[in-house]
Symmetry: C2
Subunit: 375 residues, 2 copies
């Protein structure tokens, strides 16, 4: 057992947070003695309610949390007619580019999932409100914001409910603002992480944020998928690790199997930071999708949430076709993933991943202690 400020604060056995959009992963991490966090922004409010209900049935009172995307800068629309007013801002050139790309690779049309635009549009303070209402109606222990300083109403509401507020930071100056806003836990996310990241590496960013945060726990995120890397995060002064990518090598993760197979085959050089999926730079597996957007005549990606509104249906079609074995779809197929993708050897149960991370970390710390002598 490794005791840190984080294990004390959250009442968990291990300094390991598992972030994922799959409820099965969240429950498995919490049940293994870590702390599972669900990516709520992947869902409509109704879907989120069902997911959190299911998670609570699995974890039998053990703690878990949710993560939202509440950006500080975003395209705005008419609050009374949010989705239509946002959709009207997408240029015809961009729609034609995405349609043309799908046609070039022969991707078949599918019936769009209901609530698609609702999910995309939720990536702003107004749209996130409905998800927050659902989250606070459940017994969450932590709410995290992955895109900047949480708004005051979120911090106040969480603290009144006894819920810990966490937020991800990629630069020291952002952390200063977030501490001012009343955040309880900072997550120092390095450039090697999957999803939205800055340019500073975990090795450099973590101690910077630890020194700034004083008594508040800091988690390291980015590049942590093994016990040695968890031990390194602790050595840097973090009170634990926020792991995202590693769970995409779990059976419980809901990412389509063709994507997971690409992950298993990938090296640590095969990712890039690209705004073509969400409108902000996010690390993902490089594929033919990114090659197409990088051509000189291709349109520039739109701001958040217009870019996800532009591309999410396309990704649903790519995912569906890839699952049918469609070769063109497999070339385009991708998802958010960090540089640790190069370490994925096989798909495993999430509980096994969590247990091995913790056990290998404890072993590594014991080895290090043995190599140090009074001299």
């Amino acid at each position: 057992m490794i005791k840190t400020a984080l294990t004390d604060l959250l009442g968990v056995d291990h300094p390991l947070v598992g972030f994922n959009r799959s409820p099965g992963v969240v429950a498995a991490v919490t049940n293994a003695g870590g702390f599972g966090v669900l990516a709520a922004s992947a869902y409509t409010p109704e879907e989120l309610d069902a997911q959190l209900t299911w998670i609570e049935q699995q974890v039998e009172g053990k703690p878990y949390g949710v993560d939202l995307l509440v950006p500080e800068k975003f395209a705005t629309g008419d609050p009374d007619n949010l989705i239509a007013s946002l959709r009207a801002q997408i240029p015809a050139e961009h729609i034609a580019f995405v349609d043309g790309l799908l046609a070039e690779y022969g991707i078949p049309a599918t019936t769009p999932r209901a609530g698609h635009d609702e999910v995309s549009a939720s990536i702003n303070p107004d749209g996130a409100q409905a998800l927050l209402d659902v989250a606070f109606s459940h017994r969450i222990s932590l709410v995290a914001n992955a895109l900047g300083t949480p708004p005051p109403h979120l911090v106040d509401r969480a603290h009144q409910a006894g819920v810990v507020v966490a937020s991800l930071v990629g630069q020291r100056k952002h952390a200063v603002r977030q501490l001012d806003s009343g955040v309880d836990v900072l997550i120092a996310q390095g450039t090697e992480a999957g999803g939205h990241t800055g340019t500073i590496a975990t090795m450099v960013l973590t101690p910077e944020i630890v020194d700034l945060a004083g008594d508040k726990p800091v988690l390291a995120a980015g590049g942590i998928a093994s016990g040695r890397q968890l031990a390194a995060a602790l050595a840097l002064g973090a009170s634990g690790a926020w792991c995202g990518s590693v769970w995409l090598s779990s059976h419980e993760d809901i990412t389509p199997l063709p994507v997971k197979e690409k992950f298993l085959a990938a090296t640590s050089s095969d990712t890039l930071r690209s705004p073509t999926r969400t409108g902000k730079p996010a690390r993902q597996l490089r594929s033919a999708w990114h090659d197409a957007w990088e051509k000189p005549d291709s349109p520039k990606p739109l701001p958040m949430p217009l870019q996800p509104m532009l591309v999410n249906e396309a990704w649903e079609r790519i995912d569906a076709a890839a699952e049918q074995g469609h070769e063109g779809a497999k070339k385009l197929e991708s998802f958010f993933i960090g540089q640790v993708v190069g370490s994925f050897a096989a798909l495993r149960p999430a509980a096994d991943i969590a247990r091995q991370l913790v056990a290998d970390c404890e072993n590594r710390l014991a080895e290090l202690a043995a190599s140090t002598t009074n001299g």
Copy 2:
């Protein structure tokens, strides 16, 4: 004392390698119980001979090494007339761009240092030979190549002389080739490092290379300027750290004071990877120099060694003017540095930096051991 495969191999007290172009830093690191490595490619053969003689007088038999730049890919010239044949390959457009940039900032002309082109041209297998001859005429313990697989003649000559061969790697596939070439020590250099780097972060790259290298020691490089970061490198499985940037905050470092002052004021966000200085992507402090090269109409940087032949005299003029307090020169001024530049608080003696790195690392490992309980 921390005992590792590296401290055994090199016969040093601490798993800390200090890489720098300043002989004063190299001697200080070795005398503090670490292992100093001189950047030999900064010098003509005659200069290198004098530097190594001076270092040996300071370290009184304690071990040290040298680092060379021997790229695998390079522009070639006529071996009988190397410098002139290389210089003839530099386009007039590039010369005009650099001249125009210096004029725009009002940088005065200076008398160029003798041997300038010789130093630039040495960045190829033929040119490096004279530096190697000098290095092997001294009692070096290690020779490192910072740019790819060392040529067979270098490995053979080193091993016949009982000299350890090290090389820097930024990707797993490069490490495979280097191990095949007979390298004794691999240096896993992450993207956060100063100088020539790839895109994979130290946190991800180090365990990948450790797993590949088997019994051969691996050093972590990039993002290591404090005891916590050294402890993290060891946690990742490295046998020590190869530190470069941190010594640029030492008194002994020969970098012009105006550059060091910019380093002290910089944050970890103020670096970039740019090929505008050497012809290959190298991390350095962002300045007006890089802004100028990034403009759409600016020429594309040339390959190594043509780009350093193009710009080295310009940098000599910028350095000289900045040391005189010239405001335009201070705007252009820059040097190779990693993301750890954001942690520089003051200039200190190199020996103090080395001692604190080691002491803080040992303290951090002791704290970690104390936080782990059998549970």
